[in-house]
Every structure is written in C-alpha cells, then in structure tokens.
Point group: C2
Chain length 161, copies 2
C-alpha cells in the first residue's frame, strides 16, 4: 500500500533492448477499468498479482497503489472474469545511469506501442534521459493500461500522425 510516483514516456526506437537486463512476458486484465478504482489481475512470468489503483494526482505523477501477490492458478481464473480486452506485453528492465526504466512493448491490438516508465522517490527528482526516450505522456489517460484494454492503440494511432 503506497503512493507511486512515476513518469511515463513514449519510446522512439528499439535501441533500449540492447541495454535490457531482464525481459518478462506480462498478461493482464481488469476487473474494473475506472481510473478512480482500477482493479488489475496480472500474470508476470511465474508470479501473479492483484493490484488496486486510485485516481492520479492532478499533475498525473502520483497514484495510490495497493498490491498483493496471489497464486498464478488463481490469477488465471480471475483473468477469465475480467472485462474484455486483455493486455499482452513484454516488460524490459533497462538500467540507465542511477535509474531503471521499465519499458513495455505491447502486442495484440496495442502492437506498435512502446512505453517507458521511471519510478521516482520524489516528484522533482532529476534523471538522465536515454537517446531512445520520446515524448512524455505522464498523466495522459489514453496510455493507462486500463484504458488501452478498452480503447487500444490500433483505434487511435492514426490520429497521432
């Protein structure tokens, strides 16, 4: 149970992969996609979690998060109960200077979307931007995984061009 502070960026090249020290396949669904009370079921390699998130702070940087590890077999059953629109992605961990980026490469209806997140200890914490880091999308609800499950990237990527 904590407040999570993170910033989120689009990724403009796959150069991040060379610096990645861990890759995990993630499949996740949502028992509620309401940004005020998101309930997520995630299978992350050999582990599974149920995660509840509240609404973001006004600047989009901080968000209440509660998480419990649960058995993978239970997560599989709960995934069947989730709203339509599972998210499939590979998460790359990429060390950059003193920070670690979590870079998510999406598949399925979100193919083509790559998002990097960095977790910070305070909102104004300084960090080094790697060359592959693109536009910041912190607080942009379209890029919430809960929203991508309902309204995937394939539906609106043309509007960005």
């Amino acid at each position: 149970m904590m407040i999570e502070i993170e910033r989120k960026f689009l990724v403009k090249s796959s150069d991040f992969k060379t610096g990645s020290y861990q890759q995990t396949r993630i499949i996740q669904g949502f028992l509620n996609t309401d940004p005020e009370r998101t309930v997520r079921v995630r299978i992350n390699g050999k582990h599974a979690f149920i995660t509840i998130k509240g609404i973001s702070s006004k600047n989009g940087l901080s968000r209440f998060e509660w998480e419990k590890e649960i058995p993978v077999v239970e997560a599989e059953v709960l995934l069947d109960l989730c709203e339509p629109g599972k998210i499939e992605k590979v998460r790359y961990l990429v060390k950059n200077d003193n920070h670690t980026f979590e870079v998510d490469e999406f598949f399925g209806k979100n193919l083509g979307l790559i998002i990097a997140e960095i977790e910070l200890n305070k909102e104004d914490e300084i960090f080094v931007k790697p060359s592959w880091l693109g536009e910041e999308v912190t607080g942009d609800v379209r890029y919430y995984n809960s929203q991508l499950s309902k309204d995937p990237y394939i539906n609106w990527k043309k509007d960005l061009e």
Copy 2:
C-alpha cells in the same frame, strides 16, 4: 477460490435473534458492482477481506467466489476508494437443525431489510425452514449487496407493498 451454492430468503420477524450465537458488525464497499465481476472490500469485526465474485448460474444458486484476507488498516484505505454507497449491517449466525443461517440486518439506506442466507453442499440439499423465514429471493439481483449499495432498499421498498 470456489463455487458457492446458497439460497437467500427475506426474514419476516426478529425471532431469529433469540437463536443467534454470534453477531458481527460488517461494513463493506464495492470496487466494482458489476454482477459479472463484483469486487468487494469487507471489514468483518477484527478481520477484513477482498472478495471477487462472478456471475450467478442461471437459477441463481451457484456463484464463483474468490476471497483473500487482508489487514484491516488496508481495507480501511481501500473502502475509501470504493464506489459511493457503503453497506452497513449486523450478521447473526443462527443454528437451525443441521444448518447455520447467516442473517443480515441492514442499516442506513437499507434499514428494514433483513436477509437470511443458507450455504448448501449441493443445489437440491434439503433443509429445515425456521418459522421466521419468509419469501425466497435467491437470484433476485435487487437483493445482491452490490446492488443494494447502488440502489438501496429505501428506494424501492414501497413497490413491494
């Protein structure tokens, strides 16, 4: 993680209280009230739980249920995240012949409503009906706690008269 088989009845007198061997105050809220994927946070005396339920079987008797105990302090924070409309009730355990009834006396906007539930091992299991047991409401979505939180008894009890 289980399939719960239960039957639900209205209660027509407070005679059940004399046979009750345990009473617990319950406060609960919902992170999702959708009957297909209900997510409930409950504080039950000194214990707290997060419970996820699926849709009922066609006859309303069986329902998938997954439950985890969580610390009460975490449940208190999660209750704040829930949809408006907390449920407050006292649960009485009442032994009757070979079965135990859970009788919920509601407060707040559901004042006046008393519901008895009996959990069965199989759908056609026979049980003795106590004198205070009223009309069966198994499968009637209005009496789901998730629905009572959104559309409480005070709103529609006049329609029953």
